[in-house]
Symmetry: D3
Subunit: 132 residues, 6 copies
């Protein structure tokens, strides 16, 4: 299996509901450094997994819709905790949608699976990993 | 699959038996930066894999029993080389035991698998990865 | 000159006033990974710059007062932008005050200078560096 | 599953053919920081996955044949784009060949799989992962 | 003293003249991860060292003129070895020129000094540091 | 001022005397990732600060004399705590001696100053910085 991994980041505010979150129930924020690993069984005719330029543009467009925002006020997450895990899944779903829409090019249907990792600090991260 | 990864570290002394280890047969030591990745298929009702606060407390408790010690004198490793691989397995087993004991909370039985990685330098690490 | 550097982190929300900040004028947030470098000309009798355990406790106490908060509502920053630069200076001042209060031990008056660096992402950081 | 990961690096020149590569069609270059993860189900009698000294020697020998070269002029890659993905596979194949040749020692037939990752910058990498 | 540090990167080909360079006399290449630290004594009225958005744009424009090129063919470096040290100075000079041209805004004359660091691998880097 | 920084590492055992060290009074160990920054005002005729190959050889030779050892039994440190600060100074002194002995080449007398940093974990390091 081949893969390529590209990186971006977002800076957001949010708060969590549930005693398990302790002080993180207060309005606070995070920088998420976002790694997206894209996998396919074989390379395309150019010798690549995806056009990394297009993939980076897609990732940045996905992140732009989250960046510099208070996620407590985003309709997409209404009634849900925007934990690092939930956001990893949200980025995964939005990149997957872009792939299905053809934003990665015509041979992107060969993409087998992805892994999205959000690093919230130097000591903690969360990932969502699935087939497409 | 979802996962969260948390980090801690230990500083230990030890020596190895076997010609393959060359100068590492002498008493020396290591800082191990320890990453524990915990995976489950679905998130719990709070939108998380585990209570990261409790998981961190468990990891620190497990590492505390190894930290600032000469592992050559620890009964748990008598007659064995405490290689990075062996220590990754030992941390895995002790965190897994804590999960079975309920130290991660009541819904931790949904944890599917874990990966424990010990970084021994900027150029070498070892991992143990298994289902629970 | 000798130095030791210790690391902690905070996760905060805030917004900025001023057109120069563009989308960062909206309520958003950041993880700041905080490095504090403490310098002195000569080592003390134990062969150290400071008791790193006490220094870490002081840093964590300073960061605890900022962590998981919306800095727009903190009296200490009323009327000011809590930029990475301003926060680096705030952490510097609070650690310096702890040193003057004796929280680092009796020989901490030998500390010559400090540098506080806040990493806001994998591509940007800010520092404040001064003598004591 | 156990694994060990070792690191090396190369500095090469090359160019790519294909409009998808944009400015990378020009002669340029890269530093690739190379991570090789080697996996086996059980540890050998010494408590290790492989003799990390021998594995590092093999990796360095493999990288030496690529290092400080213009890959456009290497016969091994004639007619192909030496993308990060293609080079990850090439390093994988050469390390696998060394394992089959006995360069890792007599019990290396227990190695189950490998993953080779080439980091081309702080924001992009590619991997090849397969069983042996 | 306050500072902010921003990061970019380039991927170039080049060769060196001089026996001291050994195999690096051959045409090869490098990824340089570039950190620019910009310092001033006091913050401006917005509470910042520089407009980090403008500074990043300037850095990217400077790097764009070097990126994906064979530096052996660049007139700017004719007759000179484009070592990591020489390139650190070249980036410094070009960013300094942009500051003098007003590309960082009207109050950038308060910038006291800069440090440009080029990381050529995980084990080597070079810097140029000077007042403006 | 120009500088180059090179990296190596050692894995040692030791113990500390003094209540301030708490559990680190027990025999334990550390991996030290060692960065040596070498500075000079101007570049030499080849466009470099030092021959990085020779400098790396010298650093490795210095580290080899410390590596895989119990520092409590090394005559060079008899009666002293081998804290991270003390070891940073020891590496500094030994590299400085090699420079004076001509191991860096004939123009190394132009080296103005050095900084040696030992990273003992992902959250702590110590440095010694001085002119030559």
């Amino acid at each position: 299996m081949y893969s390529v991994t590209i990186r971006g980041h977002i800076m957001i505010a949010h708060s969590f509901r549930g005693e398990v979150f302790g002080p993180a129930q207060r309005l606070h924020g995070a920088t998420y450094v976002v790694d997206v690993e894209i996998r396919r069984r074989d390379l395309n005719g150019d010798g690549i997994v995806v056009d990394i330029g297009r993939a980076t543009d897609v990732l940045h467009a996905v992140l732009e819709r989250l960046n510099y925002r208070n996620l407590d006020e985003e309709a997409a997450f209404a009634g849900r905790n925007t934990t690092t895990e939930v956001l990893a899944k949200a980025v995964f779903d939005r990149v997957a949608e872009a792939i299905r829409n053809g934003d990665f090019g015509s041979d992107a249907n060969a993409i087998a699976s992805m892994r999205v990792t959000l690093h919230e600090s130097h000591v903690a991260s969360a990932s969502f990993d699935d087939s497409l």
